[in-house]
Amino acid sequence: MLVQYIPVFLVIAVAIVFAVATVFSSEIFGPKRPTQAKLSTYESGMKPVGTTHERMSVKYYLVAMFFIIFDLEVIFIYPWAVQFKKLYIENGISVFVSMVIFLVVLELGYLYAYKKGGFKWD
């Protein structure tokens, strides 16, 4: 069983090595000739104004909550998708229908959130 996870561990190891290497290699090998302009805060070419400590809209938190709910939805799709072929052979089309019902129920909630303006920014 543990053997099956070797590719996962390899991906994690490569990801860590790649992330650390790219960040620190530019630190080590890159030339350092700082000027006033280079050291100023990067704000997409604009002159930086104001503070970074701005008050965030609570709307962002709502997006995080929506994300969690659809995250949970994915969890129930996942075991279904893993076993779909076998389930389909044994039970026929009803396997697909029950997942569609599940998704439609959640889609109603999505539509409600959309109509309510949960995805609007201003």
Binding site: M1, L2, Y5, H53, R55, M56, V58, K59, Y60, Y61, L62, A64, M65, F66, F67, I68, I69, D71, L72, E73, V74, I75, F76, Y78, P79, W80, A81, V82, Q83, F84, K86, L87, E90, N91, V95, S98, M99, I101, F102, L103, V105, L106, L108, G109, Y110, Y112, A113, K116, G117, G118
Partner: protein, 162 residues
């Protein structure tokens, strides 16, 4: 000490060390990021226990979801006013007593329990079985879960102020 033990101690070390940093770091944002490694280490231990579905849920819900929620909470509340949120240690003595008691109870129950160490074979993967049960035996429960999530979604959406 085989490869299994090594991997276990690796994940246990990741979990315990990052949990230690979660409570000792002064900056609450760093705490949240250390919590990521704690959740990740726990997911690794779930994999070692053969609970592959739980490990996946741990990764998707906790590392992916709950942590985002915590970071958003920090982002929305931190530095709004001149008061910065700092984490510190208060009530050290009662906490130490409580932790010592809990550790003692856990250790005692661990020593007292007659562990069955006969079964050494790894359990088979669980995700397929859960998929089968979810569609065949617990189909109604599955659809009700959809409605439960719908209620949560509507609850979240109704909090959206125009």
């Amino acid at each position: 000490m085989n490869i299994y033990d090594i991997v276990f101690y690796l994940f246990a070390a990741i979990t315990v060390l990052s949990a230690f940093f979660v409570v000792t770091t002064r900056n609450i944002v760093y705490s949240a990021y250390y919590l990521l490694f704690t959740f990740f280490g726990v997911a690794g231990i779930y994999v070692l226990l053969g609970a592959d579905f739980i490990a996946m849920v741990q990764l998707i819900v906790y590392v992916g979801g709950i942590l985002i929620l915590i970071l958003f909470g920090v982002m929305l509340t931190n530095k709004i006013t001149s008061v910065e949120i700092k984490t510190g240690s208060v009530q050290v003595v009662p906490a130490a007593v409580g932790v010592a008691l809990l550790a003692g109870i856990l250790m005692a129950s661990m020593v007292d329990t007659k562990w069955r160490s006969v079964e050494t074979a790894m359990p088979s993967a669980t995700t397929q079985g859960i998929g089968m049960l979810l569609i065949q035996q617990y189909a109604i429960v599955f659809e009700l879960l959809g409605i439960l999530l719908l209620i949560a979604l509507i609850g979240a959406a109704s909090m959206a102020r125009k």
